[in-house]
């Protein structure tokens, strides 16, 4: 087995008395879609923030592509190839959709201590940004203020921004959260197209989507991974059934 792209070892995060990430160990292999499921409050979003360096970890190690990144600041991790999307939409509301993605592109083209050339006429930023917007079906909305996009479109913009830096590991925190069935289906289809091309840690509540997309699944309960395995294994695991899946999926 080749070295995993991401190796999490004994990771801990405490909020006062609450242990949100409890001695968690987890691998993500290059090229896989690794789904992370678990009830609300299981610590999924906290883990993403720890992986990105937005929350410091209290113990444990995060190794990305062989390098210990546990103590690196966020921008260095992004430089190494990590990117995330947010469960609660977090776009630049008073920038256009294209500006949002262009900024994500800009973050990957070295430092921004460039004071003179107008960024909005810079094809090195605009062209790749437009390509990504079009992939997400937002091409026609490029010049619309993010605040004026529909909710579903803002969710798509979330993903576009996370993808813009061509990350080696994509952390998607409930990309379908709050979407209607049609929008969800389109997002699943989009992620399906990324399968095999990108390495993704996918947090998702919709079990149908998870079982359709994931190569492997980890079940998180109270900050601990109670099981990791192929979708069929997870489905059959009695502990998972008890703790999480409930009868409808267990019967399926």
């Amino acid at each position: 087995m080749a070295e995993p792209l991401l190796a999490i070892d004994g990771l801990v995060k405490r909020f006062g008395g609450l242990i949100a990430t409890d001695n968690l160990s987890l691998d993500v292999r290059t090229g896989e879609i690794h789904a992370l499921i678990g009830p609300n409050g299981a610590g999924k979003t906290t883990l993403v923030a720890q992986l990105m360096g937005q929350l410091p970890s209290d113990a444990g190690r995060i190794v990305f592509d062989g390098n210990d990144i546990t103590r690196l600041p966020t921008h260095r991790r992004v430089g190494a190839g990590l990117a995330r999307s947010f469960q609660i939409t977090s776009v630049l509301r008073d920038f256009t959709a294209l500006d949002n993605v262009a900024l994500a592109v800009q973050a990957h083209q070295g430092h921004s201590f460039r004071f003179w050339r107008p960024a909005r006429h810079d094809s090195a930023l605009r062209d790749p940004a437009l390509v990504i917007l079009e992939q997400l079906g937002l091409g026609a909305r490029a010049d619309t203020l993010a605040a004026n996009l529909s909710y579903g479109e803002q969710r798509q913009l979330e993903i576009a921004m996370a993808l813009a830096g061509d990350p080696r590991l994509l952390l998607l925190d409930e990309p379908m959260a709050g979407m209607g069935p049609d929008e969800s289906a389109r997002m699943v289809a989009f992620l399906q197209r990324l399968k095999g091309k990108r390495t993704i840690l996918l947090i998702e509540h919709d079990m149908d989507a998870v079982f359709a997309l994931a190569d492997r699944i980890t079940v998180l309960v109270y900050g601990r991974a109670i099981a990791t395995g192929a979708p069929a294994e997870i489905r059959a695991n009695p502990e998972v059934r008890k703790a999480y899946l409930g009868e409808e999926h267990a019967d399926a």
Partner: protein, 325 residues
């Protein structure tokens, strides 16, 4: 830079006419108006610098007049010791202001909201009291400057019109700098951080260092305004960095329109014209009360806050848009 179609926009027209009229002021106006104009222009430069961090960067610095003071004192102190070359005085004024801004910024950049306001105010008060304590340079009473900055005979700032045009050209330069800066990659990061700092960080921007850089550049720019102000009044005193002066600068930026290129100019004109007209008006109604002009100015500001969120700039913008039904 300017295309012909833009001239149909009343906002552009107003600004252009304003600037043309401003160039011509020394030809037709008397001494008072030329000095008055210089004062507006200098404060516009200071307000542009505040607008960079406040309007585009979302940093509510309540101590921006400190840089006016540092720039002014740099000129005053050097003149006091017989160093009159502007080629030396002005860069020193800008550098000293930049260094102080860098220090204040480094210590305050991690705070937000009210804390940021309080810390910047506290540092400005510190500088104010340093000025009061500088007995060798007049302490509380200030210091008269007997010789204006010299530029090797190229410019004579003693000449009222020359001084005015010097300020004017510098203002245009600072406008152009600001215009380039906010459109650049750097400017996008600055504005992005104002809009959603959390997301900007997640995208991989270490935003603190960009905000700190903007804060320092703004300090330098305001230091230049301070150097000009010292020359204009031939005088420096702690009063130029009093917290009320910092407040006036915020008022000018907000009144003109935060985060708009020409807002600081509109704001400065409105502020000083109102000051000059409200004072005599109140004195006429009630002799001796002119100094309380802010009592009338305050409610006016509230009106702007309520009915013209984007300041004067947004009023021109509204006038520029075609009316509906």
């Amino acid at each position: 830079m300017l295309d012909v179609n833009a001239l149909r926009n009343p906002r552009v027209m107003i600004t252009l006419l304003l600037l043309i009229a401003a160039v011509l002021v020394p030809f037709f106006a008397g001494n008072f108006l030329v000095s008055f104009g210089s004062r507006i222009i200098i404060w516009t430069i200071a307000a542009i610098s505040l607008n960079v961090i406040l309007g585009y960067g979302g940093m509510v610095s309540f101590g921006h007049a400190a840089y006016l003071g540092i720039g002014g004192y740099a000129v005053g102190i050097m003149a006091h010791h017989g160093i009159n070359s502007g080629f030396l005085q002005w860069p020193v004024a800008m550098l000293a202001s930049a260094l102080w801004a860098l220090a204040v910024g480094a210590l305050s950049m991690r705070t937000r909201g009210v804390y940021f306001i309080m810390i910047t105010l506290a540092f400005a008060q510190l500088i104010y009291f340093v000025g009061v304590g500088l007995e060798a340079y007049g302490g509380d009473d200030g210091l008269t400057i007997y010789k204006r900055s010299e530029f090797a005979g190229i410019l004579s700032l003693k000449n009222r019109a020359t001084f005015y045009w010097t300020c004017f050209v510098l203002m245009l330069g600072v406008f152009y700098l600001c215009h380039r800066l906010v459109q650049s990659r750097f400017g996008m990061v600055l504005q992005g951080s104002k809009s959603n700092d959390l997301r900007m960080r997640a995208l991989g921007f270490p935003t603190t260092r960009y905000r700190l850089t903007a804060f320092t550049l703004a300090g330098a720019m305001c230091g230049l305004a301070g150097a000009l102000l010292a020359n204009q009044t031939d005088f420096i005193s702690p009063a130029m960095m009093h917290w009320t002066a910092s407040g006036d600068l915020i008022v000018i930026v907000v009144l003109g329109g935060m985060g708009t290129l020409f807002g600081p100019l509109y704001g400065a004109i409105a502020f000083f014209v109102l000051e000059e007209s409200l004072k005599p008006l109140i004195d006429w109604v009630r002799p001796g009360w002119g100094d309380y002009w802010r009592l009338l100015f305050g409610p006016l500001l509230v009106m702007v806050a309520l009915y013209a969120r984007g300041g004067l700039d947004s009023l021109f913008e509204r006038a520029a848009r075609p009316r509906h039904g």
